[in-house]
């Protein structure tokens, strides 16, 4: 059925005369895996992502086990050792990756769609997912590499700031520790821990398949089924618990021998089903999310030359991820930079954006909307987000109208309710 590929040589340019956001098709396999598919036919390639609710929020007390388990997918599988697995992908030009974030873990594959190449890549991917080797030699090696990575992380004042920022915001909640884990926790892992984590979370009911590329729907159906059919059905884990917000402001200063101090300030912000999400997103765009034209950039860098980068963003997770403001500045300017950052925020919360700022932000977001998914890879990431958080399939189609509908009052109201300066947590690393 690979007619389209053969045609590719003759029909040289596919022209879209009208453009709309992608048509996302969605179904569920018998075992309960959710599948999301978008057909794109201009290039003979496909991007596939297998996503599991198995991110670091599922670590329990074993901080780092989700990430280490994902890393183990880069080793042996079925009857192949790690070299053979890597070489199987490379021999067909396929690119394989696996990793974990806070909410989820994934295996991803980019492959050409030419049958022979594609089939070899898919067979390898499927074997990795359903028959991972997880042998002791590979495990000990990956553990050593992970520990070295964690040690390397301690060279970076920026990384230390992020770890402590999450710890300050979330404490003992599953969002409170770094995805990579800690040296103390990872040191204690055994091969059995990885197997247990895999068996608990890498199950059909907890799986999602995202396919974006030059396949027919029928091919996508077969592919999704074949990838997940041999997984045990299992069940979805309980939802991640709610987050108790901070009740008072706090500052944590960590001395570090760097020439700059890294400053992070924020609090638990917004989540993926948040009714305020668009108001917070649009407001933040004006405050610190729009690069060279944001308020923070202008106040910190353009007017005062205090930092190279100054920004803010919401990280919407399943539960409220952080609202983060950040910059790095020469050690002796730390107090001044914090003051500018805080005043910019307080001012924004108190007054909201101006009509002119709102209009400019809306124009930026809607005028450049197509840039958000102008490559196969970017589109796949959007579909992955829509699928994992079960957003409506027309999320991209309605995005712009939701932005257009917001007023300065909506933004001010959302910020006043949701971003309370009296709860602001500040972490600094540097100063020595």
């Amino acid at each position: 059925m690979r007619i389209k590929f053969a045609l590719f040589c003759f029909i040289i340019v596919f022209t879209h005369n009208s453009f709309s956001a992608a048509k996302i098709e969605h179904w569920q396999t018998e075992k309960g895996s959710r599948v999301y598919f978008v057909q794109t036919e201009d290039l003979p390639l496909v991007d596939i992502k297998l996503t599991f609710d198995a991110g670091s929020a599922r670590d329990g007390y074993q901080f780092g086990i989700a990430a280490l388990t994902a890393e183990m997918f880069n080793t042996s599988a079925g009857s192949w050792n790690a070299d053979q697995v890597a070489q199987r992908f490379e021999s067909v030009g396929a690119q394989f990756n696996a990793g974990a974030s806070i909410d989820y873990a994934w295996l991803s594959l980019r492959s050409l769609t030419e049958k022979k190449l594609f089939n070899k890549a898919i067979e390898t991917l499927k074997t990795i997912l359903t028959q991972p080797g997880f042998n002791e030699v590979d495990f000990q090696r990956i553990k050593k590499q992970t520990l070295a990575g964690l040690k390397h992380r301690e060279e970076s004042p920026g990384a230390i700031a992020h770890i402590n920022f999450y710890k300050t915001l979330y404490g003992d909640h599953p969002y409170g520790h770094p995805t990579g884990g800690l040296i103390e926790t990872v040191s204690g892992f055994s091969q059995t821990d990885v197997r247990d984590f895999y068996q608990r979370y890498y199950v059909a009911a907890n799986a999602m398949v995202v396919i974006v590329g030059d396949l027919s729907k029928q091919e996508a159906e077969q592919l999704a089924l074949s990838l997940t059919a041999e997984l045990p059905q299992g069940q979805k884990p309980e939802a991640i618990p709610a987050i108790p917000g901070p009740s008072k402001a706090g500052t944590q200063n960590i001395a570090f021998p760097s020439t700059q101090t890294h400053i992070l300030a924020g609090l638990p912000g917004s989540h993926r089903k948040d009714p305020d999400y668009f108001a917070l997103y649009l407001g933040n765009h004006i405050l610190g999310g729009s690069g060279l034209v944001s308020q923070l950039f202008k106040e910190v860098r353009e007017k005062r030359g205090l930092a190279y980068s100054a920004y803010s963003y919401f990280s919407p997770f399943f539960r409220p991820g952080p609202f983060t403001m950040g910059l790095q500045t020469r050690n002796d300017q730390t107090a001044k930079a914090i003051e500018v950052m805080r005043n910019t925020l307080i001012n924004f919360i108190k007054n909201g954006p101006t009509e002119a700022e709102l209009t400019a932000a809306k124009k930026n977001i809607t005028g450049g909307f197509v840039l958000r998914f102008d490559t196969n890879r970017k589109l796949m990431e959007y579909v992955n987000m829509i699928g994992f958080y079960q957003k409506p399939l027309d999320y991209l189609d309605t995005f712009q109208s939701k932005i257009e509908a917001l007023s300065t009052a909506d933004i001010k109201d959302a910020f006043q309710r949701r971003v309370k300066p009296e709860h602001l947590q500040i972490v600094t690393v540097g100063g020595r």
Binding site: G93, S258, Q260, S290, G367
Partner: protein
């Protein structure tokens, strides 16, 4: 450069498609501005990049980093579009923009919905000739660049080691200087320095405009003519060659910095596609880099990280597209219980094997399969396609070399790889830096809520 890669099995199909689909349209205005346009109709977007033939390798002593500083100042406004207007207008049009400076180029870019291309060209043309350099703005921006240097280099042990390593490896080539410049040079820039640099290099006949996306080439040419066409040609005095002198014997250094892990960097002086006498040698070095580090299945990861387990990470790289002779580099982090000297021995052993044994056909085919597939994958990104065209043109190779890449790689044989290893990866051309980690003491002080914060 990122390694791309291949596919023998379906060589004919995608290769044909690529050849026809990859057409680049070229036009040179009478003032010398070169325009390259590539149609990609997959999305209604366009990327516009303007590349100037100037970067840190053009800079004399005392003003290192001035190309990068000027890049920052190019956002500071003109008579027609004062401070902030450029970025405000691009943002209002939904665009994404920025700029980057390298050793051999300075480039500015915008990505927009296709109907907004005109405003990008209009603004970009304006600042090619009309930038206003003001002392107060320079003073602030100097601080910004100093912070940038702290962030990128001063507080990153490996980046700082790399800076020292480059400075040792090159004797007289400008590649010895960091792109961002040395601290004392950054502190000393004056408006006059920047003005002179701007006048010397920012001219239509020293630039290439690249547009990739859902665009009509003739329309892009017309727009370029409208906005850039009125500018006069400049007399561009070519940069002096500053060809690196020959190295006689290995050079080694230790860099002691607060860090947690040791690290080794090695570099052999090699020619690049732009400097090599026989072109195949450069492509053979490119494939050789792939043999060592073309993915998880390549030799360094397979042998040093997995097999011998003496490294927790190991990599190799070759810059095919540098303007001047460059380094073929290797870098690795030792596994616990191993040290940088174990790694030096192991890396040299890998080089030794490349000189003494032919790489297997299977290995070679794997690299080529990756390169061929990579040629399809990279077409997913307009930005990357534009980057390639702009970069090759700017370093002095023709953009036509982009299209030759897959075929040239395909022609490389195991004998040729052995030959370049024997000729260039030799002790007399070698440079080594060891990062010797010094203790980091972290102390923590937490202050609980400072109550009574006020809104002002």
């Amino acid at each position: 450069m990122k390694f791309r890669d291949i596919l023998i099995l379906c060589l004919c199909l995608p290769a044909l498609a690529i050849a026809d689909n990859n057409k680049v349209h070229e036009k040179i205005l009478s003032n010398g501005l070169k325009i390259l346009v590539k149609e990609d109709r997959r999305s209604p977007v366009a990327v516009s990049q303007i590349w100037y033939k100037v970067g840190s390798s053009y800079e004399p002593g005392g003003v290192t980093g001035i190309s990068h500083m000027l890049e920052h100042m190019m956002f500071k406004g003109t008579e027609a579009y004062p401070q902030g207007e450029f970025s405000r207008i691009i943002a209002e049009n939904g665009g994404r923009e920025n700029a980057f400076t390298g050793r051999d180029y300075t480039a500015y870019f915008q990505t927009v919905e296709k109907s907004r291309l005109e405003i990008c060209l209009k603004l970009e043309a304006d600042r090619m000739r009309n930038i206003k350099l003001v002392p107060e703005e320079l003073k602030k921006e100097l601080q910004v660049v100093t912070e940038e240097r702290r962030m990128r280099t001063e507080d990153k042990p490996r980046a700082k080691t790399r800076e020292h390593f480059q400075a040792m490896a090159f004797s007289n080539s400008p590649y010895k200087n960091p792109v961002i410049g040395w601290p004392a040079d950054i502190a000393g820039y004056t408006v006059a320095d920047l003005e002179a640099w701007y006048q010397r290099w920012y001219a239509p006949n020293n630039a290439t405009l690249v547009v990739v996306g859902d665009v009509e080439p003739t329309e892009v040419f017309n727009l370029a003519e409208r906005y850039f066409g009125g500018f006069e040609k400049s007399d561009i005095v070519d940069v002096k060659p500053q060809t690196e002198i020959e190295q006689f014997g290995a050079r080694k250094m230790t860099v002691k910095l607060p860090a947690k892990l040791p690290y080794i960097m090695m570099g052999y002086k090699v020619p690049t596609l732009n400097t090599v006498e026989q072109e195949w040698e450069a492509y053979a070095l490119e494939v050789l880099a792939g043999i060592l580090d073309g993915g998880n299945g390549a030799r360094l990861t397979s042998r040093l990280v997995r097999g011998q387990q003496i490294a927790v990470s190991a990599g190799a790289g070759y810059s095919l597209y540098s303007r001047l002779d460059d380094l073929f580099s290797l870098a690795a982090t030792p596994a616990p219980g191993k040290n940088v000297f174990d790694l030096e021995y192991a890396l040299k052993n890998e080089i030794y094997q490349l000189k003494n044994e032919l790489v297997s056909d299977q290995e070679l085919q794997r690299i080529k399969a990756q390169v061929l597939a990579g040629a399809v994958y990279e077409r997913d990104s307009n930005f990357y396609q534009a980057m390639q065209l702009g970069m090759l043109e700017t370093i002095g190779l023709s953009w036509r070399k982009v299209a030759e890449y897959v075929e040239k790689i395909n022609q490389i044989t195991a004998q040729q790889i052995r030959a370049v290893a024997r000729q260039y990866l030799i002790e007399d051309r070698l440079n080594i830096a060891y990062l010797d980690p010094q203790a980091i003491e972290e102390t923590q002080s937490t202050q609980a809520a400072a109550g009574g914060r006020h809104a002002h």
